[in-house]
């Protein structure tokens, strides 16, 4: 393992911000830590970087304990949330900074800077002032600067946080491609699930300083570990349920569940695709409260009588009008028993 955290703990004024976190990142792996703000993900990066001392636990790089190794000797790269480009240096000066620190000869510095600016799509920008760069360009310069000294592990703190959506989506693809091509090992943190899923080989969901779930994007998406993860991923059809064999008793009535599901008092998730609209006189009676166009489908918000709201996904053609009354049935293939 390139990076291992063993029960890493950081407390701010007695409150644990990182609570006995175990995490490992293999060589060439892209791991994305996903969590709401305040979940401790930035502190995790700072602890790995050596900018934040641990109160307990260990950080190991290539199996070596990093306690006592100062930040600048860890050979890690960190891209800050707001870039932190040096305002008093031009683009080339920023990218060359790490090379200078590592004592690279001036001639080679110039070559490497040009190479990296080429790589991030800003050829010939070395002489420009950082204040004159757009947000996307600053992003690219920050990336080039972090990559220049060839860090063992590249860490990204909300890498695309401040950019507009289309640029973000384009950059995510570029980053993924770039990391794949360079074989860079990456530990990124973000609160944006789209970003995490698009970028990562493995997603780690954090909550209140602890790891709530870890797995491939597909695993996490298909089987959220608990109600918190499910809601954080944007699933709102989550209720308490009692599972008996292949059916669950919920406030929405009886919902079929896949065979082999855990039994007893559980939390049940029904994906919007599993909420089928049927005739008003069949199934669960609901009133349509809202429709949201989502590009590939329409999200229909339904209010059953005396039960939590439901979200259904259907095609534009099938979407009922707001205020209409529909019936709902459930599809076992799209329900998940959590815990």
């Amino acid at each position: 393992m390139l990076l291992e955290l063993e029960r890493a703990t950081v407390r701010f004024g007695g409150r644990p911000v990182l609570d006995a976190v175990d995490l490992s990142v293999a060589e060439h792996e892209v791991v994305c830590v996903l969590g709401p703000s305040g979940s401790g993900k930035s502190t995790l990066l700072r602890a790995v970087a050596g900018l934040q001392p641990l109160d307990a636990g260990r950080v190991l790089l290539d199996g070596r304990d990093q306690a006592g190794v100062p930040a600048h000797k860890r050979e890690l790269g960190l891209m800050f949330q707001d870039h932190q480009l040096f305002p008093q240096r031009d683009v080339g000066g920023n990218v060359a900074f790490g090379l200078r620190m590592h004592g690279m000869p001036r001639i080679r510095q110039g070559e490497r800077v040009a190479e990296l600016l080429e790589l991030v799509g800003l050829p010939g920008a070395a002489g420009r002032a950082v204040a004159a760069l757009s947000g996307g360009e600053q992003q690219r310069v920050a990336l080039a600067r972090a990559l220049a000294p060839r860090p063992r592990l590249l860490m990204l703190d909300e890498p695309l946080g401040q950019l507009d959506r289309s640029l973000r989506e384009r950059l995510v693809v570029e980053l993924r491609e770039l990391f794949g091509r360079l074989g860079t090992t990456v530990l990124a943190v973000t609160h944006d699930q789209g970003e995490a899923f698009a970028l990562a080989d493995r997603v780690v969901v954090m909550r209140d300083g602890r790891i709530a779930q870890s797995g491939t994007p597909l695993e996490v998406w298909q089987r959220p570990a608990d109600a918190f993860v499910a809601r954080f991923l944007g699933f709102d059809n989550v209720v308490e349920a009692t599972v008996t064999e292949e059916a669950a008793v919920t406030p929405w009535g009886k919902v079929p569940v896949p065979s082999g599901s855990a039994q007893g008092a559980r939390t049940l998730l029904v994906r919007p695709a599993g909420v089928r609209l049927v005739g008003a006189d069949e199934g669960l009676r609901c009133t349509v409260t809202a429709r949201t166009f989502r590009g590939t489908h329409v999200a229909v918000h339904l209010q059953p009588e005396g039960a939590p709201r439901l979200e259904a996904a259907c095609t534009l053609r099938d979407a009922p009008e707001v205020g209409g009354v529909v019936g709902v049935s459930f599809d076992a293939a799209e329900t998940v028993v959590l815990d």
């Binding site: 100062p70 930040a71 040096f86 620190m101």
Partner: protein, 556 residues
């Protein structure tokens, strides 16, 4: 379409220039009446003769070997003092900006105390420490008062706070993550500081260096006491020529020499500062300080605390000890008695006078200096505005003695007869305080991101509202520091005040000097007692200011 837009921007730019000129009007008028006019008067008295001018006097005086000696000593002791001050105080600026430790607020006030002490008292305190019969003499037989070291140490003592507060103020607001970014790229702590933080601190360090150099270049009270017959600065020489030899002409010529030298330094300074300043990302100072960690930081903290104890607190302690060096607080009790031989009033009355003057002078200095700083904020301003920037610094360079003497001879006859009014003293003190206000506020004002102002303007804020809503909240801290400086300067001002304070209304420093000027143990003791009281008043005032500062910061 494009034409219309050009017209609008053109009009906006003109309106902006007009607004800046409007802001400048008050400071310019103030300086014309209370600075340029008195200085012109004294120069005319010195150089003018029967309607003509004798410029040749400049060369005659400068060519005298004793004057050349004074010029050389003035320059090199100022350079040495400045270098030594930076060396000792920059680590302290770091400690105050970046480390969190108990008693920091109090200590911040403590280091500022020397700066507000009258220079005469600083000199006397060091005499008591390193002079004949002083503490070091008693303990180890070490005497420094015959060497230049006494002067240099007293200058470090006096100017420590300038560096700590000017540099530390900006330092505490620099985003620590800039340094962390450098560290992640392989820079050691020291390299990260040298390559990232030091350049960002450049304007503040330059400002502090300039201030310290000018203070030590024009040092008066300290050199007067500790220099003896061997060491004399330009300022002391001007005073000697004015009050002992009554050679106003030579004094005026020396003033002009000093004027030119200071003008040259300021011109260089204005140029370098303008080139170095860049829009910094400022963050709230309360989030940048951390508990010390690692042996290095603890050692640094210990070193700074030790320096403060030996260099700053010890002289003050010796001073206080001397004031108590008589049974039953005899020196203090003597202050309240009106024996009529030194003053027309009991010496204790000087405290009330000093506070009254200082509050008034602070109000004037902050109002005038604040307007000046606001008008100078934009770096793309024209030549006229930049010249004004340099002009504002001149009262720092011109000797306080000249200001006081100029007031005395220029403002006591029509058209402007202020001789009988009490406002004369605060006006002179404000004049000396304004450069501090400008120098403290300008680096911070200029570091405010211009886009924030633009954002506010787009949201419908008038220029005044922009200043009120964007600049003020961000520079509030600097404004309070500036006010504190102005207050401190007024309270300790001696060179100018000694000329214009009326005998029945002495300020504390003037009273101390008069007591010191008289022989006798009781007079010396009373001077020590009054100085101690001044010290206590300063500590209290500064503590109040520090308290105010934290409360406001909590709100930001």
């Amino acid at each position: 379409m494009d034409l219309a837009r050009t017209e609008v921007t053109g009009r906006a730019a003109r309106a902006g220039n007009a607004a800046r000129l409007g802001l400048m009007a008050v400071p310019v008028a103030f300086f014309a009446v209370f600075f340029a006019y008195p200085v012109a008067a004294i120069v005319a008295r010195g150089l003018g003769s029967d309607g003509g001018w004798r410029f040749g006097r400049l060369w005659d005086v400068a060519a005298q070997s004793d004057i050349r000696h004074v010029l050389w000593f003035t320059t090199w002791q100022a350079l040495a003092s400045t270098a030594l001050t930076l060396l000792v105080a920059l680590p302290a600026a770091y400690v105050f900006a970046r480390l969190e430790f108990p008693g920091k607020q109090v200590l911040r006030a403590v280091v500022t105390v020397p700066f507000v002490l009258p220079t005469v008292v600083v000199g006397t305190a060091f005499l008591a420490l390193v002079g004949r019969g002083g503490l070091l003499d008693d303990l180890w037989g070490v005497r420094l008062d015959t060497t230049v070291w006494a002067i240099l140490l007293a200058h470090v003592f006096f100017n420590y706070a300038v560096v700590v507060r000017t540099v530390g103020g900006l330092w505490s607001q620099l985003d620590p993550r800039q340094e962390e970014a450098a560290r992640m790229l392989g820079a050691s702590r020291l390299t990260a500081w040298r390559t990232v933080t030091l350049p960002a601190l450049g304007p503040a360090v330059a400002a502090a260096t300039l201030m310290v150099f000018l203070f030590t270049f024009t040092s008066f009270g300290v050199v007067q006491i500790l220099g003896g017959p061997t060491f004399s600065t330009l300022e002391v020489e001007i005073y000697r020529q004015t009050s002992e030899i009554f050679d106003l002409s030579t004094a005026a010529v020396l003033t002009i020499v000093q004027f030119l030298a200071v003008g040259a330094i300021l011109a260089v300074h204005a140029r370098t500062v303008r080139r170095r300043e860049s829009a910094l990302r400022l963050v709230d100072a309360s989030v940048t300080a951390r508990r010390p960690r690692g042996a290095g930081q603890w050692a640094l903290l210990a070193g700074v605390l030790g320096t403060i104890a030996v260099l700053l607190v010890l002289p003050l302690a010796v001073l206080a000890q001397r004031s108590l060096d008589a049974p039953g607080f005899a020196y203090y009790r003597a202050l309240t008695s009106d024996d009529g031989n030194v003053f027309l009033v009991p010496p204790i009355d000087a405290i009330g006078n000093s506070l009254e003057y200082a509050v008034t002078a602070t109000a004037i200095a902050v109002a005038v200096g604040g307007l000046a700083a606001a008008s100078l904020t934009r770096r793309d301003a024209g030549r006229l505005v930049r010249g004004f920037d340099a002009l504002l610094m001149l009262p720092l360079g011109v000797s306080a003695v000249t200001v006081g003497f100029g007031f005395l001879i220029a403002l006591d006859e029509p058209p402007l007869d202020l001789r009988g009014t009490w406002i004369l003293v605060p006006l002179a003190q404000a004049l000396v305080g304004i450069p501090f206000v400008v120098r403290t506020m300008l680096p911070v004002l200029r570091a405010v991101d211009q886009r924030l102002r633009e954002a506010a303007a787009v949201l419908g804020a008038s220029p005044w509202r922009v200043w009120r809503e964007v600049d003020l909240p961000m520079v509030w801290r600097a404004l309070l520091v500036a006010a504190g400086f102005a207050f401190a300067v007024s309270l300790g001002e001696f060179g100018a005040t000694v000329f214009i304070a009326r005998p029945d209304n002495p300020t504390l420093p003037v009273a101390v000097a008069r007591l010191l000027g008289r022989a006798g143990e009781l007079n010396y003791g009373q001077a020590m007692a009054l100085s101690t009281i001044l010290m206590v008043v300063c500590v209290v005032a500064l503590l109040v200011l520090e308290r105010l500062r934290t409360d406001r910061t909590g709100e930001l």
